[in-house]
Amino acid sequence: MIDQNLSLLLVLIPLLSATVTAVLPSARAAWLLALAVTWTCLLIAAWQLMLVADGSVISYELGGWSPPWGIEYRIDAMNALVALLVSGIAAITLPYALRSVEKEISQHQIPLFYALFQLCLVGLLGIAQTGDVFNLFVFLEISSLSSYALIAMGEQRRALTSAYQYLIMGTIGATFLLIGIGLVYAETGTLNMMDLNQRLNPILNHRTVHTGFAFIVVGIALKLALFPLHLWLPNAYKYAPSAISVFLAATATKVAVYIMLRMVFGVFTDEFVESTPTDHMFLLLGVVGVIMASAAAIYQTDIKRLLAYSSIAQVSYMALGIGLSSVLGVTAALVHVFNHALMKGALFMACGALVYRLGSSRFDHLYGMGKRMPWTFVAIFIAGLSLIGVPGTAGFISKWYFVRAALEQQSWAIALVILLGSLLAVVYVWKIVELLFLRPLPEPDTQVQEAPASLLIPMWVLVIANIYFGINTELTVDIAETAARVLGVGS
């Protein structure tokens, strides 16, 4: 019985819990409830993945109304993987958040913080699970609104302006998505993704459909932080509280990549995409994004901003995968969705540990700290190697598939851009390594200690996951490939 309701429970439990959390009197109680909920979600998501890993599909009808009239939650391998990723990251962020949040946010606001966190989780999980485009819009806005509020809770006043800027840009993006959905609905009369796919088929050459598609793509591209719609990201990641930087960096843009894949290939089909300039646009913007964002990262003087620009570059890789529009390309993009979440999660956690002990993530406050905080430093080193794509780490697997996808289509230029991105990553990762490890400690030596265990352990779980998924790729590659085929990609 539970089996059939799993998909809904995944969204319902955190939703109900969020309302309870908001009124809890103590910070600890709020944390405990949030912890329990995120771990439950993780278990449910894992169970769900096991049910669909062989290529089967779960279809859940909300309210008993059958699709296409009712809202349908349609879970296949791709959704389940993304849902697992989001709940996994949430589950690992909660133990980390205990001490990190207590230091950065005032006591009476902490229950509200955890309530917002769970709402954000609801939004992201809902996006992953739903099979209805309007439902998608609603969940997208739920996750976005809670993100704006969470970012605004950062310590510095620039968190407020960053959140405001993100709000303006994000709302415009979501409204674009809404316009696109409206136009497509006007042409087909349905909001169910599977049904849309079928009904759009004979009318794909209509101008309205093209316009709707354009609005949808642009709207999602803003959430994806695809160049040039990335301007909100650096400030948002930098000024957010550390735990939120971890959570958002590892999930928000990844879910947006998933939804882009679902809409572009699942609803509109790859033949349509290839008949428009969309795939070339993704390739072009991806290339520019990789190069410009990596170059921007090199010139930063603050670790959090550096990692934010690096995230923009990594998402541009995923855009390249979408643009290549083949099974290998989509596989690469999905594998990187998973792997990048692991890498960036670990890096932002380490960064948060530095902020916890030193109060700042600026380079000039961090000289030589690697010697005082060796565990944090080694975590940054290994996650950095994964970002570069050194073999033995998850990042290498992503790079492998990306270059193979490019070579398969004889795109030498794209392959070289991907490798160039790795080289630029070497430069900015090594900047951090040298700064922490090889610079002399400041005088007078302030006797900084290593980060507390509750920050280190989640960090190292992610670091070890990076290495594990670099060697055993059954979960990521097999499922990504299954998902790519299910999407019907590949000419």
Partner: protein
């Protein structure tokens, strides 16, 4: 030709509102005016949905004796949801503006920018 333009008047209104709203967001430096612009932008989308939901000779979608053609209820429902989303966004945006005013003493974008970058 004239018939075509007049017949699609709903779309012209939508376009006008959409562009005014968008322009307001971009060009105005006052944070509250930006939020107002977003509201106008979103309203244009609401109008888009509702106007395309109209069925010729249809009545409001409430089942009653004697009526057989109803306007499409689904866009109405969708827009109600979208309005709620819009309201929440506006509320959150305005709350942020209040906090920004406390922190910076101003709600003009360029003054805030100067304060941030003069450090």
């Amino acid at each position: 030709m004239i018939d075509y333009i007049l017949g699609h008047y709903n779309y012209w209104i939508v376009i006008f509102l959409m562009m005014s709203g968008f322009y307001t967001v971009i060009s105005r430096g006052n944070l509250i005016k930006k939020i107002a612009g977003i509201n106008i932008f979103q309203t244009s989308v609401f109008l888009l949905y509702i106007s395309i939901g109209y069925v010729t000779d249809g009545t409001p979608p409430i089942i009653a004796k004697g009526y057989s053609i109803y306007a499409n209820p689904l866009p109405h429902v969708l827009i109600l949801t979208a309005i709620v989303v819009g309201v929440s966004t506006t509320a959150l945006g305005l709350a942020l503006v209040v906090r920004i005013k406390d922190a910076y003493g101003t709600i003009e974008e360029d003054e805030i920018h100067d304060q941030d970058h003069s450090l």
